[in-house]
Symmetry: C2
Amino acid sequence: MKAIYAGERGSFAELAAREYFGRKRRIEQVELFEDVFNDVTKCPGVQGIVPIENTRAGSVHRNYDMLLESGCSIVGELYLKIGQFLIANKTATPRNVRRVLSHPQALAQCRTYLRAHPEMKPVETVNTAAAVKTIKEDRSLDSAAIASMQAAIDFDMKILARNIQDDKNNMTRFLILSRRPNRSMAKGIPVKSSIVFSMRNIPGALFRSLAVFSLRDIDLYKIESRPMFGQGFQYLFYLDFEGSATAEKQRHALNHLQEMTSFYRFLGSYPVGRQVAPVYGRR
Amino acid sequence: MKAIYAGERGSFAELAAREYFGRKRRIEQVELFEDVFNDVTKCPGVQGIVPIENTRAGSVHRNYDMLLESGCSIVGELYLKIGQFLIANKTATPRNVRRVLSHPQALAQCRTYLRAHPEMKPVETVNTAAAVKTIKEDRSLDSAAIASMQAAIDFDMKILARNIQDDKNNMTRFLILSRRPNRSMAKGIPVKSSIVFSMRNIPGALFRSLAVFSLRDIDLYKIESRPMFGQGFQYLFYLDFEGSATAEKQRHALNHLQEMTSFYRFLGSYPVGRQVAPVYGRR
């Protein structure tokens, strides 16, 4: 029983995998998000974890597309609190830092901090671990990296500043993927379901599609639109709603919806995810 | 009277600016999207043009955020057909190409072509012009670049393959920005309007917000949700709808909507954009 994530060691994806799977599965790293989807589709025993949306950066569009292309099912979710740390070599001091290395998205999340420190020049790297590795190998005293606290622990570095991201409430939502949908879930826990569909060309199509839920008092969690491949600006809608797809009113709503869709796929029903802070530590 | 775009020369942003403004405005280049928003906000005479969504890659989220932060108005739009070209030095031949340089997004748009040519290793560059410039300066015969045809003309290079992007119907939508909204528009032309809002915490909020348009037979073009800064997963909605905000039924709909919103801003009414293919040529 294996669980896979894409990303370097010490990344938020790895922290999310450890948090969600704990010791229940052997956790392995793959290179790309694409590899996660491919391996999950091919191997019945394997589950995968991928980021799908961040409170600041928005949705990870490519992962929405691959969710559809791969045919994977969603079997769970997790909300991970994201904190960015300024990391340097042990003898470095904050006042000497002239260059800050990190992935463009991490640099973007710390815009306010970097603006307040105009002497620190941002430098882009392929990922956050590469940033930490570079300053460690260079033994640089005038450079720092932005990364998770786990990277500071893994590379045995010093933390110059904590939680320097603009949004102190920054969270990333991760999806747990499997080859087949959940068959049964514990009773009494809050459940949500995800679908993807496109509407036939009828007036007020989007409004009508939401009406099938609202008229049955089914709450919507999220709607995301994506342009359909090769169709110009026609949209696919990804919708998350309250409850299991096998419950009575949800079943009726989904039947009603399919009277109006030109394309429809069920992505999964799963327990509503917990909001957790990462647990850092030595391996 | 000046118009500004962000991006290298020969980029699709420059082609869009030339197409939209023609000889009516002096077209100037700035470095970042942020500079476009800043300059438009500061200078009454300046208009800007920025990409807001692509049929394949989806919305440019950062530009949605800056639209709100800057306080700019939308005064026009343009749909530009996007074609990617494989470009090399004059004596290069397709069969010798081992490396293909380009911006990650251009490489992603040509995935099928690159998969069909596994001997061509993709190499990421900061932008497409940098890719062309590098192979020209290196006089490399085993490398090619992916860029617009304009880049091939500007750098006087050879085209090895045309329209190699996966989606032959690939288009990018550009917005035209100004400090103040349009005051008047020619009569009889199709018009659309854009707003941004968030809903008070009421059941079926999104459904109710769309109802104010559907109940008045006002067509919706697009809805985009963005997480609200510092609010966890609460969403701002960007909505494009048919007609001018000053027309009678649209005015009623917008008043109705504001009974339910916790935040509301009007972004502009403007003529529905044309779909155009870029016009390439020597400068």
